[in-house]
Assembly symmetry: C2
Homo-oligomer: 306 residues x 2
């Protein structure tokens, strides 16, 4: 079925595993997905999960099946730790930092790309996003500026061509879930969170966060007080909380963004919210297709072997 | 045993219930505590919990036992809702806003003091702290300035004599518990959190929070990255997280504090940490005895009936 596969590109995240068969001309021959993300596997279960994903894929003429993997499979608690490259660094060096797990008699030859860490200017780590950044750079030669990757742990990176100069991580998505699920604010967020008040709440929260990112610990409580005093409904409160957190995140990066257009890599609905807040801040956002970006990154990483 | 009790002062919080018998000369005849805080009781269970606390306390010459209550017993989900006074307001008016639950044939005559809300300048609410603020004012006539009440939900209030001008609430204590228990940071906070690294971590975190309160969402993740990259131990990480949150809170109130001495009302160990951070910010903190303060507040509230 897949005799023309030259190699396989894999994005192995915490929640999911995705693979694409790539032909010699760079076209995608197949796409396969599995729920066997890093977070659900013990170290010993990785080889079988990969073999299962690639069942029926024929090795190439060499008798081997080359697989290039980015993401959490290379974490300490993953399959095989791929030590971080340290920023600032040229992401074209990713493949040189790859590690190669022992696959025994299998025809699969797997390489796991490293993440990137930062020590000077604030300890930080990424795994997976570095490959997306290289993909963005390869699709947009000459781009320099801030890139935002919204999510559970949003990344903001300063890119100069294929060099990552510095980056930060904002716990915005995780904070929303923590507050919605476990905090006193949950009392104000019980019910239909997607009602018509959500967008008004989002706008009000984003304005508050952009105006005073230093007041987050205080403004958060106003979600609860607003529900008690002003009868704010759960949909409005959910929008406000979401807007406040994203507004605070964008506000704290404002000095690095100015009026630039910021590429956004992430889930489309979330990227649309970030684009809205960036516009409120006098900048703009350019949502990218995350699948296209990660594929471009894996292809680019493979093309730059030392 | 308590024939000389003139009235009973009660602080009914979410977690605990405390009562003091007060003689005609204002001295404390007895102190009683119970774990029956508001959070553990249904509406119907409040009268029995109070009767149990005061078992054996004889009514006065009138045949009645007057009980003045502050705190969460007056919340919507408490015994009987005591509507908020709205700031700015003179706290000598607290008793005029009290509500009186029906006690049936009991000799107990209970009054529950209102909380204070704020609508202009950011929705906010307090219950219990307003009585402490009145106590502080009555013990320190002529004091004007910011008061800090550290805790799960820290309050910062601007006091002018017995007037509360404005206030805010920071979810600092709750945020520490959320992050320690439920977030990705919990991996870096498993183990002995009270080891020798805690104070160094606290100082580093407080410096970061004071310097950049607008960067909280980003700096939080450095707790995790520091554990991964620099081998930071759980005691250091716990100190850093605590210092970062308190530093952010103090940093966001810095413009209101200047170089003033800020009265601190709360648990002594926590007040000591806030005093340390206030000193780092060029101000200072003056921890107060919280029991003495709330008692003074209940006495003062009782003395200012219209």
């Amino acid at each position: 079925m897949t005799g023309n596969v030259d190699w396989v590109a894999v994005d192995w995240g915490t929640s999911n595993l995705r693979g694409w068969g790539i032909a010699e001309d760079g076209s995608v021959v197949f796409e396969k997905t599995s729920p066997k993300g890093m977070g659900k596997l013990t170290r010993e279960e990785f080889p079988a999960a990969l073999a299962e994903l690639l069942e029926g894929v024929a090795p190439g003429r060499s008798g081997k099946l080359e697989v290039l993997i980015c993401g959490m499979a290379g974490a300490r608690q993953g399959w095989l730790e791929a030590p971080y490259l340290e920023a600032p660094t040229d992401l074209r060096g990713l493949l040189d930092g790859a590690v190669h797990p022992d696959m025994g008699d299998s025809p699969i030859r797997a390489s796991i790309l490293p993440g990137v860490c930062q020590k000077a200017g604030g300890d930080n780590v990424m795994r997976g996003e570095e490959t997306q950044l290289l993909g963005l750079a390869s699709l947009n030669p000459g781009f320099s500026g801030m890139v935002c990757m919204p999510g559970t742990h949003s990344k903001w990176a300063q890119l100069s061509g294929s060099r990552i100069e510095r980056f930060s991580t904002a716990m915005t998505g995780e904070m929303f879930e923590l507050l919605r699920t476990h905090s006193v604010l949950r009392h104000s967020l019980a019910g239909d969170l997607d009602g018509p008040g959500r967008s008004d709440g989002f706008k009000a929260g984003a304005e508050a966060g952009l105006a005073h990112p230093e007041q987050l610990l205080g403004t958060l409580f106003q979600v609860r007080a607003g529900a008690l005093l002003s009868g704010r409904q759960p949909d409005w409160c959910a929008g406000y909380l979401s807007g406040l957190l994203i507004g605070t995140e964008v506000g704290s990066n404002r000095h690095l963004v100015g009026d630039a257009t910021v590429p956004l890599i992430g889930a489309p609905a979330l990227c649309a919210l970030y684009a809205q807040v960036l516009e409120m801040a006098g900048a703009s956002g350019a949502p990218k297709d995350a699948t296209e970006i990660v594929l471009a990154g894996l292809k680019a990483a493979r093309s730059f072997a030392a």
